[in-house]
Symmetry: C2
DNA sequence: GACACACGTTCCGAATGACGCAACACAATG
DNA sequence: CATTGTGTTGCGTCATTCGGAACGTGTGTC
């Protein structure tokens, strides 16, 4: 889908987008837009009316001159936020993956699950699974625990009070126990996960902060239990915390 | 227009915008969007198809999951570019206007004319005219001359070669004479205009630079000839140049 | 393997929503 | 005042959009 050169499937939406693109090049009036697009000015008037009602188009000082509105900037925030994190995070993850030999991911919180948005594989990675875009349970992954730990208390309590699925016999599904663990995560600055999601899988994660200091993502390293032992986890945490702090700084976070 | 609570004038466009707003909160699949909007999934599929074909929506790693695309960021650039200059420039203009007692504007170049995007009035301002959004001729205004002076030579020559309108008997309409004056503007760093647009109106402008050092706007002070004499113009240029340099720095320009 | 389920895509006919036309309202100019 | 230019609104028509259903694909279970 999205590869069609043929007529747009919804012509009026296609036209509205053409209006936006025209206005992105500079403000214009209804008659001018109509001339550029080759449609009637009453059609343009209606299209612009909807776009303006929803904030995607606005009039500047001169009446009858329309320009791109702030509503577009708000929509764009979703893409730029993702791009910054993905684009800046990828080399950081790769450096760590090359250093540890394990897989390093960045995950964000969305609607009660963790979503992996970046992945870098180390040379020793035995798993071919691509985690990008995959949703994983917050309570049973190291990334998820980091994301949970730094949520506002009421939101955290709400998510933890939902029924928690068990993936292995080591999965923590007791809410009170999990909350206690999350308090420890918040104070020690990392979360570890030993075979809670999958037998033989160990992982550790640290927080990544946005420019306002809020935790926007978790960066995790994962590998098989025989390689990523509990002791090794403790050993790699400082390097991960440093890398995450670097990434946070790149995202605009100044701890000073 | 744009104040209607009633049914949207173009329902399909309104629906497409609702899709974008939903995706701005986080990625989603077709069935999920359909459920949220209360429309059939084939309708959503078609809307998303158009949005994707035009780059406003894209699929991340997981097939069937849609998110806001980079095309929205491109559209937003038109609004953010305008906002930075306007938002940061407004207090700078107001400070100058309070200091001089005259009206201070910022204008940008668009399609052969100067457009005022910011205005601050001083206490002595006698004119109630709101210049925001107004288009003024490049060759007959101080702002316009600054904008012309710093254009690439071929673009400047092209604009100057067009027929130049005369607004008063002092308006310079001879291309060669204007080019000579523009060379002087570029070397002295400001442009003055004495009754070329309107009898009794004097103005002086200085350049504002964007982060790459290019001149992106002109900041001007204007007032009646009896108050803004030629001598006073020379006196206020240093303060204006300093303020414009401040604004340029805020826009990311480092002269070093 | 078969089957069930879930998802996104595509075809189809019905109808309604979007279209262009024309009139209207408003502003600017001479 | 008349003229010109712009954006808005009402109207009838029909082309576009809609929802239903079938289809293709992927996943999970037995």
């Amino acid at each position: 889908m999205g590869n069609s050169d043929s007529a747009a499937q919804v012509q009026s939406v296609d036209r509205a987008i053409s209006v936006l693109e025209l206005l992105a090049q500079g403000e214009a009036g209804i008659t001018e837009i109509a001339g550029e697009l080759g449609v009637h000015k009453s059609t343009v008037s209606r299209l612009v009316s909807v776009l303006e009602a929803r904030g995607l188009v606005e009039q500047l000082g001169e009446r009858g001159k329309y320009a791109i509105g702030f509503g577009v900037v708000r929509l764009a925030g979703a893409a730029t936020g993702r791009m910054d994190l993905t684009k800046l995070g990828q080399p950081v993850c790769q450096t760590l993956a090359d250093s540890f030999g394990e897989t390093v991911n960045i995950a964000v919180h969305d609607a009660g699950v963790a979503i992996n948005i970046t992945q870098a594989r180390g040379s020793a990675a035995v798993s071919a699974v691509n985690w990008i875009g995959q949703r994983t349970p917050l309570h049973a992954t190291s990334s998820g625990k980091v994301l949970l730990a730094y949520l506002p208390a009421d939101e955290r309590a709400r998510l933890v009070s939902l029924p928690l699925d068990s993936y292995t016999e080591k999965t923590v599904v007791d809410g009170a126990q999990l909350l206690t663990e999350l308090d420890a995560v918040a104070s020690q600055g990392f979360a570890a996960c030993f075979e809670e999601l999958e037998l033989g899988l160990h992982a550790v994660a640290v927080p990544v902060r946005g420019h306002r200091g809020e935790v926007v993502a978790a960066m995790s390293a994962s590998g098989p239990s025989y390689r990523l032992s509990r002791q090794r986890v403790e050993e790699i945490v400082p390097a991960m915390s440093t890398a995450a702090a670097d990434l946070s700084a790149q995202l605009g976070y100044f701890a000073g």
